[in-house]
Subunit: 492 residues, 2 copies
Amino acid sequence: MSDARFSKIHIGDLQVPMREVRLTNGTSVRLYDTSGPSRTDRSAWGSPVTQLGAARRGVITKEMEFVAVREGMTPEFVRQEVAAGRAVIPANVNHPESEPMAIGRNFLVKINANIGNSAVTSSVEEEVEKMTWATRWGADTVMDLSTGPNIHDTREQIIRNSPVPVGTVPIYQALEKVGGRPEALSWEVYRDTLIEQCEQGVDYVTVHAGVRLAYVPLTARRRTGIVSRGGSIMAAWCLAHHRESFLYEHFDEMCALLARYDVTFSLGDGLRPGSISDANDEAQFAELRTLGELTKVAHAYDVQVMIEGPGHVPMHKIKENVDLQRELCDDVPFYTLGPLVTDIAPGYDHITSGIGAAMIAWYGTAMLCYVTPKEHLGLPNRDDVKTGVITYKIAAHAADLAKGHPQAQAWDDALSDARFEFRWEDQFDLSLDPDTARAFHDETLPAAPAKTAHFCSMCGPKFCSMKLSHEVRAGMAEKAAEFTRKGGSIYL
Amino acid sequence: MSDARFSKIHIGDLQVPMREVRLTNGTSVRLYDTSGPSRTDRSAWGSPVTQLGAARRGVITKEMEFVAVREGMTPEFVRQEVAAGRAVIPANVNHPESEPMAIGRNFLVKINANIGNSAVTSSVEEEVEKMTWATRWGADTVMDLSTGPNIHDTREQIIRNSPVPVGTVPIYQALEKVGGRPEALSWEVYRDTLIEQCEQGVDYVTVHAGVRLAYVPLTARRRTGIVSRGGSIMAAWCLAHHRESFLYEHFDEMCALLARYDVTFSLGDGLRPGSISDANDEAQFAELRTLGELTKVAHAYDVQVMIEGPGHVPMHKIKENVDLQRELCDDVPFYTLGPLVTDIAPGYDHITSGIGAAMIAWYGTAMLCYVTPKEHLGLPNRDDVKTGVITYKIAAHAADLAKGHPQAQAWDDALSDARFEFRWEDQFDLSLDPDTARAFHDETLPAAPAKTAHFCSMCGPKFCSMKLSHEVRAGMAEKAAEFTRKGGSIYL
């Protein structure tokens, strides 16, 4: 994006970033931009209690103003959505480098990229590089899911460099602290880990507080049991101690803690289905009901909440998930992983899940957690991260179009105009991935004149429908002129 | 697929091919197989007039029996679907090498792979290789869309080697015969081309007989005009001569011709939208109404018919296409290109269209025409063909699942069982693309012991939810035993 045809611009007092694409016909298009580096230092803005607390008191924060500019909405609309709990602005007071963004069904659909190392592979530098790479292609948030050594340092490097909100799953670090043995976990270890992460600047945390002791037996007859890491850790703890989940029992204390930093809850779906066969079962929906209860508790503390969702769901069962989440959880933002619409394509789960993601976002999901081609097989590398992000930008944008977001249609129109007018360079520049579009074109027609040619190698010059279509239009114009000359009688 | 864990088996007198996957737990799974080479020689079966004619007279042909074995249905059910026009079995009497297959909403969703060269690139050998490659990954039919030199020879080589039905768009060759000038086309040139292709063994032909003179002006205010090659050629002809389409005017003669060979009509959507902006417009639906009329004409000649569909359609406008096609066209099979659900991702249009394809197939489309990553940018190569086929197998299978096809769920269950039981080799073998699944896994954990390990590099050993889930199950079994020992009092 260092090309002269692209530039990063910053709008207004708050320096809201946008990507300006200058087209060869003299016009330009402004696109939402997540790529950083941030010019924002929110520490100078003065901090409200939480965004939800401020919104409820009628206060429009700088964060809301920033979001309003990015999304082309009024600050008052943003405030209302946050006040109602329908949108969240994850913005830890200790992550002043982040550029505020909103997650909510009435805003552009957002996407999250998971990064982070495991015990088996990857380094701190690689993970920071993946974060930068993910936001460069459009990731709206990143989650650091590191589980190996150096969890604290990896997270520190990611947060300090991230222009987007950073999410984590604190139980992963807590488990490392107790040597990887779930039964050795305790509220005290977990709480200290949570404080450490809040202090560091984590913007939202996945908490599997809905995995209650009584729900564990509901997973016994499942085809694939419990497939959430956090969910399986909590289930193992509950069973080992034969006690109610300490996350559930200490939920009020967690709310008080998160409120001090304005860290947002992402209430985890620890019992999400891990196969088509297990979709929409009693275990999954029992947990969802509990997440609905916990939403009300968090809201009483002015803590922002979103709800995580599945997983593996066949197409005909997707809508029920959204409808039930809205009903049970007071319409707070839904944040789903895919869902994958079939289990038979390991190696292509960005696609099996991209299908489900587009549909569930159309139905009302506010943020989509990406899935890379390596899902179920290994840790994603840099190329996988890019493929996952682009696939999910497609899903999110397709949903924006289907929901009638005004900015969404304009982008498609600009690209289609460039296509119909054979402005190849503009077509590339307006693409989600200009590099790939240009490379694919140049593979068969690399010469410079092909960039203005009225065809490509797909059809060749004689069979280009768009070229013929222009000739048809010219023909119609001629006929129209003839019609006028002849005094206006019908010529067809 | 040369591995000992896979074998091609042939069932019954008709030698119906299936792929048998032998799993490490001693069971096996049989999958639909398109890969050829065919053991079929239909010329020995004796030929009915057309499959539709036979079905209407109550005759169950060998082709219907073959389909019944492949799909796990009764021959009588197949006959009824064909007799009603809801399914077609494209099977030119001059293509005896093809293995019969059915296209219809009550059968497995099928996919087509477009191959064929353009004036700019590719050779005959490459195109035959693409056909073999496409069917090896699961293409149910192939269309030879060659437009360059050697059209006749390319097609000859493809048909003689193809175990699946071959479709074409005869107007491409007709246009080559008149030097690439649409206005020089005539019914006579077109008819001779059609006879040549019917003689050669083409199983179905795309005919853009619904692009009528009166509809051409309806495209004038479109964002992207006419994007079907056949559609733009016919529009140019109509306008140049200021006459009704010769395809429309000579439709009865075409029916009589196709009936002699049992070639199936694929009535082309020459006015399909080429951008999100143009979806579901008057031009598109005016043509669809005409295709409905022509369906009745073809059926009067016992000629089998399917209807082609768009194109570029946002998610919320997809269902209307299927509903209208069913209503206007007597529920004959719908055969759609995608649709792409956004225009902004050239280079990834297998994905933008795979989303729409899965949805439209769930709604009732019988066959999906694949789109490769090169769409809009260039002619697909071998890798692009594979990516397109796998993406569309995902879309088709996701729709089979959502429609409740009994064989579909069994495949997902077998793979999910292998996943939950850490049978890695079985997981790979049951994948749509075993090579890629294995390669991705081995990228980070190549050693042989990792093939039986209870984790992968994505989470590492301590954080594998499935491993923990097994421990939770063991814990529950222990608790259940304790419950029994203690006399059955509630332990939760």
